[in-house]
Symmetry: C2
């Protein structure tokens, strides 16, 4: 994930990258003059039905897609378990992801540990910067995330102001109900001065940019209190979002659960380069859980404390424009782009443009970034994302790390607004560089030059025989500090050395932080160097997928209900990712059906197609309805006719149409639809239709 430079931005961007969509739906849409529409968005299904999100969520719970972890113990905020259909859907998504990215592009997949020692995350910046600001109410003990609190209170006041002015206000019923339940004190129908309204709106527009002091000022200035009790709050303090633990028995090795898989991948760079026989560019990839100790998790699967990520680190030579060898294959793919300029002017209009054109005009910085955006889109469409609800949003300058050339998020539209599901950032050489500088490990590439390069360089020689005895265990640190000296500094120090016979350099953590080196220890000279080998630290393009967020968005994109009956939900997953592909339904529990069910089940298993049997006593219609809610695309009925002539009906989930054909024909039709070689329309054309009433 993006690893920015500025402290304030660091924590924000890291947070935002995968685990908030606050910026997206508040600062940008709301803050800049637009109504907070996306936040209050309703769920509109693929067939334009407007549905209360709670209807979908209750169906997902009922069908055990996911539910709060440790439910018998009252659950834990931000922790969810996946039940059988959710788990199968997730496994299928991962399978498609692995084929689409890892196998297709020969990426080097690694599995690195979640437990991570303190030092690694200290170097990466997470220990110091990966934090949110929180405020405590000393009376009740309640803890608030400071920026969320300011935002919520100011928004409530703006809303009250509008109502007081007699303007119409879009009401989010769910939030409204919650507030009523909590007896929120802050919301009084007070009309504000126009100037105050403007101030509030400006603050909301840039709420992500306030650090602890800034938030403290806002809280004091606008008298922001505990919304439920009206009590005063303590000033904001930083709360690190990593789960801390201790490795080994002596409690002297602090560690964390990783907040991203990326650091583990960076630290294997050297081994992977070697494994790849020193060929560049290459990509590593990793699929695994990461953890964030959110202050107050909300929005279901969208902000959780333990989540599955799939991350790619594509290592590329920073010279030569970051071209991609397969760019040609994707250049004509059209993307929906929300560029930086449009956002800066407070708007959200998107443009449809081919990747080729976007890269050639410089809108997308380079071919590699463009290539991955196109590949991400292909993946999203393959798994069933609604193309109308997919866009790529460019980061604005103040969202990005200072070193990043460009950064785009793949966002999916849901009833929670546009949700960042994939971040695609250029992390430059930042991570490899800091780890290299810290450890001295060769996290770089050595490339034989076609023609030797000749240049002048200030070189530092160390008298090794005296160096070790003098600095002992610190010798390596001092040496690293010397190697890190810039050319300018080397030139200046060579003059000092000539003049004073000694120099002083900064070495963090040794003595007082300053080390004095005499003439007999060190020598600095300008020399002509002929290089046959070029050493460079690769840049990293990082597509980083939040699988849980994609999964949840997919629920919303796939969900609709039968006309006129909200109780009959359907999840129209593509066969490729559907948890179960085929439902086997014997007409009744008559014993003559059993061998047919068994044989079909076996044949599907052999073909690698997951099937389930529903031989309960419910009606055929009820059994099909249940499986529409589970997203099972096909159903096969075994009836008395089957016993006679070995024919079966095959039902399509989305249209509820049926065909009837022989066993082999039915098996073959299912296989070809699951493999994506045919659609239901194709099958329906070539096999005879079967009509009968589905009895409810």
């Amino acid at each position: 994930m993006t690893q920015p430079h500025f402290p304030r931005l660091l924590s924000r961007t890291l947070r935002n990258q995968l685990h908030t969509n606050r910026r997206t739906y508040s600062s940008i849409n709301y803050g800049r003059g637009k109504p907070a529409k996306s936040r209050m968005a309703t769920l509109t299904t693929r067939v334009d039905q407007v549905v209360d999100r709670s209807v979908l969520e209750s169906m997902l719970r009922r069908r055990a897609f996911y539910f709060p972890s440790f439910d018998p113990y009252g659950g834990v905020a931000g922790l969810y378990d996946y039940g059988p259909p959710g788990c199968a859907l997730q496994a299928n998504l991962i399978d498609v992801w692995r084929k689409h990215f890892v196998l297709e592009e020969d990426m080097l997949e690694v599995d690195t540990t979640m437990l991570t020692p303190h030092e690694v995350l200290k170097t990466s910046g997470h220990v110091d910067k990966f934090a949110d600001w929180m405020c405590k109410d000393p009376k009740t003990g309640e803890i608030f995330r400071a920026d969320h609190l300011v935002e919520a209170v100011l928004e409530a006041r703006l809303k009250a102001d509008k109502e007081a002015r007699g303007e119409k206000v879009v009401v989010n019923e769910e939030e409204d109900a919650k507030k009523k339940k909590k007896k929120v004190k802050d919301v009084k129908l007070v009309k504000l001065d126009d100037a105050v309204v403007k101030e509030y709106e400006e603050i909301l527009a840039k709420i992500d940019n306030y650090d602890g002091d800034g938030l403290a000022l806002l809280i004091t200035k606008y008298d922001i209190r505990n919304p439920t009790t009206g009590g005063n709050l303590l000033p904001p303090v930083a709360f690190n979002l990593m789960f801390q633990t201790s490795i080994g028995p002596s409690s002297n090795m602090p560690g964390y659960l990783r907040p991203e898989t990326a650091q583990g991948q960076f630290l294997t760079f050297q081994k992977l380069l070697e494994f790849n026989q020193n060929q560049m560019p290459f990509a590593s990839a990793s699929i695994g859980k990461s953890f964030r100790n959110e202050i107050s998790p909300r929005a279901g699967l969208l902000r959780v404390r333990e989540f599955l990520m799939a991350e790619i680190e594509h290592f590329v030579d920073p010279e030569g424009g970051k071209k991609h060898p397969r760019f040609n294959e994707v250049k004509d793919i059209e993307l929906t782009l929300l560029n930086r300029e449009v956002q800066l002017s407070g708007r959200t209009e998107v443009e449809r443009v081919t990747v080729g054109k976007a890269v050639s005009t410089g809108l997308i910085d380079n071919q590699t970034l463009g290539y991955f955006l196109a590949r991400i889109q292909l993946f999203m469409l393959k798994i069933g994302v609604d193309p109308k609800k997919l866009r790529f949003r460019q980061h604005m300058a103040n969202e990005m790390a200072h070193y990043a050339a460009d950064c785009w998020d793949a966002e999916l539209q849901t009833s929670y607004g546009w949700i960042e599901c994939v971040g695609c950032a250029d992390r430059s050489a930042y991570d490899l560089t800091v780890h290299k500088e810290k450890t001295g490990a060769p996290l770089f590439v050595r490339e034989a030059l076609a023609e030797p390069r000749k240049f002048e360089q200030w070189q530092v020689d160390i008298t090794k025989s005296k160096f070790g005895p003098r600095f002992k265990k610190d010798a390596k640190k001092v040496e690293l500090a010397i190697n890190a000296l810039t050319e300018d500094l080397r030139e200046k120090l060579s003059l000092d050395l000539a003049k004073d016979g000694q120099i002083e350099i900064d070495v963090e953590g040794v003595d007082s932080g300053k080390v004095v080196l005499e003439k007999d220890l060190i020598n600095i000279e300008k020399r002509t160097v002929v290089e046959h080998i070029r050493e460079y630290t690769p840049n990293v393009i990082e597509p980083s997928f939040g699988i849980g967020r994609i999964l949840y968005s997919l629920f919303e994109h796939s969900y609709w209900h039968r006309t006129g009956d909200e109780a009959r939900g359907v999840l129209s997953f593509p066969p490729l990712v559907a948890p179960t592909k085929v439902l086997l339904v014997p007409l009744s529990n008559h014993e003559s059906f059993a061998p047919f069910v068994k044989r079909l089940g076996l044949k599907f298993r052999r073909a690698g197609i997951s099937s389930k049997v529903d031989d309960t006593s419910s009606s055929i219609g009820k059994r099909y309805s249940r499986n529409d809610e589970l997203g099972t695309p096909f159903g096969i009925t075994i009836d008395f006719q089957s016993v006679k002539d070995n024919t079966f009906t095959l039902r399509d989930r989305d249209s509820t149409k049926q065909v009837r054909a022989s066993e082999d024909e039915i098996l073959q039709a299912v296989k070809s639809m699951v493999d994506g070689e045919e659609t239901w329309t194709d099958v329906q054309k070539r096999l005879p239709e079967f009509t009968s009433q589905e009895t409810d």
Copy 2:
């Protein structure tokens, strides 16, 4: 995992279940009169080559199968990363596991969180009992696992005694070298009294049975000290093996990283039963990481702090003999069994017996357990385990939980001895019961009875209207305690109530632990009950797989080297699990080969077969050798003949034999071998042989 009752056994068995093989290779083989042979076992390959383990391990590191995590930072004991081939092998094992168990048997797979709140693991017994004993050297700060230390020192003394007696001692060179490096002080060539030798041997035989006090006594009595310095040690203290953390910002919700996936599965029981439409029996399954904060990890992948498990919880009615509907399918499968009686008499002879016979004679307790043992064996053979190095070892009575009917481990033989890789235990109703009692959640089955059951029962009525106001937040706890009263106690209390007008009952955590209930709050009466519904808590049969241990054993079982050349290693993975199935080798980097390489790669991807290209400038022979070490079963050479007539050579890794045929024939042959429909022998018979020298 087995969750035994006795405190001492609890920690031991839990530990042993997956993460030590100490018992196996020390108490049983060594302690009972046998030499510690398996501990000092060498690596014998599939073709009976005797190899130093370090040769294999260095090859695995060189080929990036696995390596220490955070290597640039010096690594962390007990944490390993899998590189590309290890990661692919692991993914393939998981894929086979999922098909073999989950899909084949319609198991309900769930994905539950690793973060687990304190209360859950308090109830399960892990907070109090999941611990090892450790001793600290107050001078050096070193920490020793107490039982390992006692064991090591006594073994060293026994060895020294043998040497002093002039007996021949089997020397483990590796351990010997380590001791020399550490300058072990304890080992002097002292002859011991015969009685002392006997005492030592008896202690070693039951080293797993000592608790902290017992170990403290041994340390004092036998003057056991820090082996490297001779310094005195502090008495053993319990060290809980779970990684602790804190969930949420207020630090008031302690939590742990799960030590097994099982608890998460138990807590979803109610939802899964409902999802399964209340049909019994059924099984849940889960694949995921678990964690143990080992005191001093060793033995590479065999004892690590973060590890992948695949666990099945099969829920079955305890009545009716735990029959299994598919038992018939496996009854003729022969297993290698090391039964309890043989072990008790200090021997290790195995017997070959069919599952059917073992269950009918009562050697294996029930059909369900027998069914899973057979299925585990089928899985092991499918992935390439050497059948001669697989056995099932029955737990002895003192290893098992008091409630367990039977328990068997699938053990794989390696150079570290016989390693427990799968535990297959009957956890009875223990876990569901304790969680139900703690939370009141309905973790049981309700089954309609064919005929109503009539019986007498002591029933307790609570005056709800007074109960709530009296006990407030504790009301539920008191009610749970009342419901848990036994029939006998109810009868006694009814008499007390009649006599005294009040009774006293134990309620943990309320008031002083005793609660007084007056007549107006409670009524106890004997009534005739007619039951139409039977309620029961299912028993759990749990096959629990340590994937990392299986993976490592598979390395040893698959490894061998070309005759006469230890430097040319081969990993003979079956095509099903091999990290890469096909290597594509263009003869040189001549441009005419490129389109062929590309087309073949594309066709293999389409067919779902993973292939890699090696187009480096190394010789064909070198490229094949490299991929023999990666376990790639097939290789295709693209040469000038290919450009002419579109034929290719296909090479078999194990025999290095080659055939030559057209593109379609070659593709089809690879596919049928990967799918397990043909073997190389079949292909070699029907396609023309190709002979040429592999140039090194």
